[in-house]
């Protein structure tokens, strides 16, 4: 049962990810991203992390990708772009290096963390104690990091507004 769910969810994640890269149309690519995020949510559910699954859908699929779509629609870049023109010359080599680096890092983390499989976790506790445990650690142990993150977000929003405001000279 768990194997079937794992295979199906992974297929969702991978096909979505491939779609993001291969689709010519940015809106289709964004939909591919939604599929990937749903696959990850299914993985969370199968690991009994219901809260993370719900938040994954609400925040990523429900807010962030909607924002992407908004930008795509409002800026009218929803037609396939000409890929032969490169605005930033260094972009592609750097992307290849970074991609390879991230792959190595993730592979290393998986290999080193192999022994954590099957270890007892909080997630198997019944009911919503899962959520309670999460809230407790977020608001007690990691409260400083949590608050700093929220400050960062506020600064980012305020900064964006200030930077993008075009001050018009009053012309009477």
């Amino acid at each position: 049962m768990e194997l079937i769910v794992f295979v199906l969810a992974s297929a969702m994640v991978l096909s979505g990810a491939i779609g993001v890269v291969l689709f010519r149309n940015p809106v289709h690519a964004a939909l591919g991203l939604v599929l990937t995020l749903f696959g990850v949510a299914v993985h969370f559910v199968s690991m009994e992390a219901h809260f993370l699954a719900a938040v994954q859908v609400i925040v990523y699929a429900g807010a962030i990708v909607v924002l992407f779509l908004f930008v795509i629609m409002l800026l009218g870049v929803d037609r396939a772009e000409d890929l032969t023109i490169e605005p930033l010359k260094l972009q592609r080599p750097v992307a290849i290096v970074l991609g390879a680096g991230v792959t190595v890092l993730v592979a290393g983390a998986v290999v080193r963390g192999a022994d954590t499989l099957g270890r007892e976790t909080n997630a198997s506790a019944p009911g919503d104690s899962n959520i309670r445990a999460l809230a407790r650690s977020l608001y007690s142990d990691h409260v400083l990091a949590f608050e700093l993150t929220s400050v960062l977000l506020i600064v980012a929003v305020a900064g964006t507004v200030v930077l993008t405001r075009r001050l018009k000279k009053s012309e009477g």
Partner: protein, 413 residues
């Protein structure tokens, strides 16, 4: 194989050791019943709305098909099936076909977490025994119940957004941009007023929330003060794109909004989804604030005691009915808001009010948890009020500064 972990009971019927046909049959039956309730309820809602609006406008309304015109919706549905299915030349075909389902499926799925009946009185947990199996009168009771509804309603945004974009014409695009902006703005107010209920109930599961509202004074309508309820009701009306917040399909400005280019059965799916959302969100509102299937006792007299085990369902229907009427009433009474008024109401009134009230409730809850003395309580409330007052002053200052800047520089666009 990996050993079976104790599954957090999505449905107690699945907890049994001996797996035989009964659990599967019960779950299958419940899926079927929820599906049928959804469809029949939507049919009824369309008829109900047309009939009530007609009454308020001194007309007769549908009265030809079936008794009191009850079958009018069925007739309309059959008619829509046989209409020609048009796909615009400049549309994005795949997304155009996908969008109605993205609107329709979440509308249905919300029903799965609403407790539809069962006995929650005197601290009973609402489980019932069918064919020797213990279960709930609700399709699923996941530990994140209410968050699931929020997730589904955020998926519904895609239906509207993609429908407008993929039509390849300007009015649908305008309609869908309006709709998604509106739905995202009001989701914040919705979530904040919801948080007040979740804090009072201490759980996210819908059956837990119903169980926490045993007495009339425990109903979250009263125990959270009436403010979150009002915010939730307004935010929900906006979220559903119902009048007076139906700028999404303002006929005078943008034809039909996001579904202008849709015809035939695809249009019917949008139409169904809209009405189904009205019913399922009303049911959610009743579950959160009015105790769902909990009876309203007058003394110890229960109006639906005659119905025995179906009493809870009858109470739920009665309460949902009340809100369906309120929605029709809104539609027949209130004129549509202007777009800037809509955004002002959402961002400058509802969100600050919901946030301030949430702060107050959280402080009171903290006082209760720590067994504060009388003096402690008074200080707590005073501190809260001072903080809220300061917040309000800052807020009005910010708004007036913004207005002054706008007056000086002219509008940004």
């Amino acid at each position: 194989m990996i050993a079976m972990l104790p599954v957090p009971a999505v449905d107690p019927v699945l907890d049994t050791e001996s797996w035989w046909w009964q659990p599967l049959a019960i779950v299958g039956l419940k899926v079927l019943v929820v599906f049928i309730i959804g469809l029949v309820g939507t049919m009824f809602m369309v008829w109900f709305e047309r009939k009530i609006v007609a009454g308020m406008q001194n007309r007769i309304g549908p009265d030809k098909a079936g008794p009191f015109g009850l079958l009018q919706t069925l007739a309309d549905g059959i008619k829509l099936f046989f209409k020609e299915d048009l796909i615009p030349e400049r549309s994005d075909r795949f997304v155009f076909k996908l969008a109605p389902f993205l609107a329709f499926v979440p509308a249905f799925l919300i029903w799965s977490v609403i407790p539809l009946g069962g006995d929650f009185t005197d601290g009973r947990d609402g489980t019932v025994e069918w064919f020797g199996q213990i279960t709930r009168v609700q399709l699923a009771d996941p530990p994140v119940g209410v968050l699931l509804v929020l997730a589904l309603s955020s998926i519904a945004v895609y239906g509207v957004m993609l429908a407008g974009w993929s039509s390849g014409s300007k009015y649908p695009l305008l309609g869908s941009v309006r709709a998604s902006a509106q739905m995202i703005s009001y989701e914040a107010a919705l979530g904040l007023s919801l948080a007040a209920v979740l804090m009072a109930a201490g759980t996210l599961s819908t059956s837990g929330i119903v169980a926490a509202q045993d007495q009339l004074t425990d109903w979250h309508l009263l125990s959270t003060g009436v403010v979150p309820f009002v915010v939730f009701l307004i935010a929900m009306t906006a979220e559903l794109n119902r009048p007076p917040f139906d700028l999404v399909e303002a006929e005078q400005e943008i034809v039909g909004g996001f579904h202008t280019e849709y015809s035939s059965i695809r249009f019917a799916l949008f139409f169904l989804a809209e009405f189904m959302n009205v019913i399922s969100m009303s049911a959610l509102l009743v579950t959160l604030f009015l105790g769902g299937p909990q009876p309203l006792l007058i003394g110890s007299f229960d109006l639906f005691a005659v119905l025995g085990p179906f009493g809870g369902t009858a109470w739920l229907l009665l309460k949902v009915f009340l809100f369906l009427y309120v929605y029709v009433w809104f539609r027949a009474t209130l004129p549509r808001l202007r777009y800037d008024q809509l955004m002002d109401l959402g961002w400058k009134v509802l969100i600050p009010v919901a946030l301030g009230w949430f702060l107050l409730l959280a402080a009171l809850q903290l006082g209760r948890d720590n067994d504060l003395s009388q003096v402690g309580y008074v200080t707590l409330v005073i501190v809260c009020l001072v903080v809220l007052g300061l917040g309000y002053l800052l807020f009005t200052a910010a708004i007036s500064v913004a207005r002054r800047n706008r007056d000086r520089e002219g509008a940004a666009y």
